[in-house]
């Protein structure tokens, strides 16, 4: 089965919408089991393992993160945060057989109570076609001002 450039782009849009609508079970189902969500701390960081990152999470951590959001004693989510992605049309940078790389520029807004923060992001997706469906093999999210001091970033940019 072949995947078109448009199908890949639609996939990226759909993922952002799942996050904005809080459909986390659908979102987790997009991932391959050995995938990692990486958010570097340093500008143009190359090493996720031996240096500090903001996030470098396997599926166990991502499930924990999602599960925690709905917990009865998740105090920092009383009340809950909301988020909103505004994305540019993704660039499909690589199409090699069953694997694809996209780069997407976006603005991410997260809000809770009286506070709202805006982050400018670049997301790189490594996608794979498995059993006829696109899946996320890895995702890297670079925050434009990654060296700034942040307050809580509680949802998933």
């Amino acid at each position: 089965m072949n995947v078109s450039r448009d199908q890949i782009i639609d996939f990226i849009y759909d993922e952002a919408r799942m996050l904005d609508e809080g459909r986390y079970d659908d979102w987790l189902a997009l991932w391959l089991p050995d995938g990692h969500y990486w958010m570097p701390l340093d500008y143009q960081q190359t090493d996720p393992i031996y240096e500090t990152s903001l996030m470098y999470e396997d599926m166990f951590m991502l499930k924990l993160r999602v599960e925690r959001l709905n917990g009865a004693r998740t105090f920092s989510q009383k009340p809950k945060s909301r988020c909103h992605h505004v994305i540019q049309r993704p660039f499909v940078d690589e199409m090699n057989g069953d694997s694809f790389v996209t780069k997407t520029f976006m603005h991410y807004v997260e809000t809770r109570l009286d506070e709202q923060q805006l982050l400018a992001l670049t997301a790189r997706h490594d996608l794979a076609l498995v059993d006829g469906a696109l899946r996320i093999a890895n995702k890297r999210v670079d925050i434009l001002n990654c060296d700034a001091a942040f307050r809580n970033i509680q949802l998933l940019p």
Binding site: M39, L41, D42, Q45, I49, Y50, E51, T52, S53, L54, M55, Y56, D58, F60, M61, K63, L64, R65, E67, R68, G71, R73, T74, F75, S76, Q77, D147, A148, A149, F150, R151, N152, I153, Q154
Partner: protein, 443 residues
């Protein structure tokens, strides 16, 4: 209106043996006095020597609210200078780190200074020929802090020119830094990357107190640690199968009260202290192949075992850092205002130890101390709720009475039940001492 300035009695009255007045957290006037007195009289952390490894390397930071530069001078010594041109006040360096070569040059009027701060040159100097510039303090160059001390790579400064010596201030508490450095087979640490930077809208002392608050993890962190344990059980892995890394790092936060009671707390004079005298949440990490062998090679078996058997949890160096020896981490709680604190969390590499130790340290840092951390989120929530809640006028005092005993003497080292709030009382005892040291009543 000022209530505390030039009024040492009023400042002293904020601290009682079993409680502290909320103004120590909420009053901007008290914050200003802390910067002027406490942060000038105490020895405050600046940076690690590996952040300025080569001559001319500098690193810009803050001691309290004071902008300073840590710089490696041409002699190889590390100096700490105020980041201010003596001419018009311009900050000499704006970037957080770099190399300035043999001298600093102010970007405004090109006054230049040697890396020990001494004035080197002023352009068009004849313009000062018939003035008395040379008699001013400004003509001497960039001002240095009162005193600097390098303890095994960690640079501390005392802003006040006169005062308590480094050794008298820290005493035996230096054993925690020593243990962290000794964990390197080479006896040396190197900083790894930039720190996490996390902004909190609360008073800096809440963060410091929380470092030895052993009655909060199982409550405030139930949503992360408790959920981790639950998810792990649902996986139904066979006995002895490798655990997800999150379990090793996060799950111990869910340990019962008894675990924290038995871990013990030690306090030292001048506000220093640590949790984890007998064991800690870091005790049961899996061994990393090759590490113990490298330690034995360097230290011999007995000494290597003694170094690694020490599993201190959090060591507070009063006033505002915390060190985790077993995972080579340092957190700097920099006070920006009465209700604003930036936390910088650094990690270090153990020179000549396997890289996998650095991987665990980096993992701990991002899982627990990042602005994206599911553990950090609930801590910040607690601090900021307290900062807002304290504005309630119904009660003006904050209680620090847990396991308090009659006539506590903070001038002697003590080891007690791990859930005592003695270390918080110890910090406030030191707070009063270093606040009042240089304070005079107005006539």
């Amino acid at each position: 209106m000022t209530r505390y300035t030039d009024n040492p009695d009023a400042v002293a009255a904020l601290i009682e043996p079993h409680q502290v007045h909320r103004d120590v957290y909420t009053s901007q006037e008290v914050y200003r006095l802390e910067m002027k007195h406490l942060f000038a009289n105490a020895w405050v952390f600046v940076g690690h020597e590996s952040q300025t490894a080569n001559k001319g390397d500098y690193f810009a930071t803050q001691v309290g609210d004071q902008p300073v530069i840590q710089v490696r001078h041409s002699t190889g010594d590390i100096h700490v200078l105020y980041n201010r041109c003596p001419h018009k006040g311009t900050k000499i360096v704006i970037d957080r780190q770099g190399n300035t070569g043999k001298f600093f040059r102010c970007p405004y009027h090109a006054w230049s200074f040697k890396t020990d701060g001494c004035l080197l040159a002023i352009p068009l100097k004849k313009g000062y020929q018939d003035t008395r510039l040379s008699e001013t303090e400004n003509a001497k160059g960039m001002k240095a802090v009162g005193a600097v001390h390098n303890h095994r790579g960690f640079i501390f400064a005392r802003l006040a020119a006169e005062g308590i010596s480094f050794e008298d201030f820290f005493g035996d508490s230096l054993s925690s830094i020593d243990n962290m450095v000794d964990r390197s087979p080479a006896g040396r640490l190197e900083v790894v990357g930039p720190p996490l930077r996390y902004m909190h809208h609360c008073n800096w002392k809440m963060l410091v107190e929380n470092q030895t608050d052993t009655c909060h993890p199982m409550v405030a962190h139930e949503s992360s640690a408790g959920t981790a344990v639950k998810l792990f059980e649902e996986l139904g892995l066979p006995e002895g199968a490798p655990k997800p890394p999150a379990m090793e790092i996060i799950a111990p936060f869910m340990s019962p009260y008894e675990f924290f009671e038995n871990m013990g707390i030690r306090t030292w004079p001048n506000g220093h202290g640590h949790t984890g005298v007998h064991h800690s949440i870091h005790s049961d990490y899996t061994a990393i192949p090759g590490y113990f062998e490298a330690m034995v090679e360097s230290y011999g078996e007995d000494r290597a075992k003694a170094i690694l058997d020490e599993n201190r949890h959090n060591t507070v160096y009063f006033p505002n850092i915390m060190v985790k020896g077993p995972i080579q981490q340092l957190r700097n709680f920099i006070p920006l205002a009465a209700d604003k604190t930036i936390v910088e969390s650094y990690i270090y590499r153990l020179v000549d130890a396997p890289d996998e130790l650095t991987a665990r340290t980096a993992m701990y840092n991002r899982m627990i101390n990042a602005p994206t951390s599911i553990v950090g989120h609930d801590d910040l929530e607690m601090y900021e709720r307290a900062q807002e809640g304290m504005m309630a006028d119904g009660l003006e005092w904050v209680n620090i009475q847990r396991l308090q005993t009659e006539d506590e003497d903070f001038t002697v080292e003590a080891v007690e039940n791990g859930t005592t709030e003695r270390q918080m009382r110890n910090q406030f005892d030191a707070w009063r001492k270093f606040m009042l040291m240089s304070m005079e009543a107005s006539a």
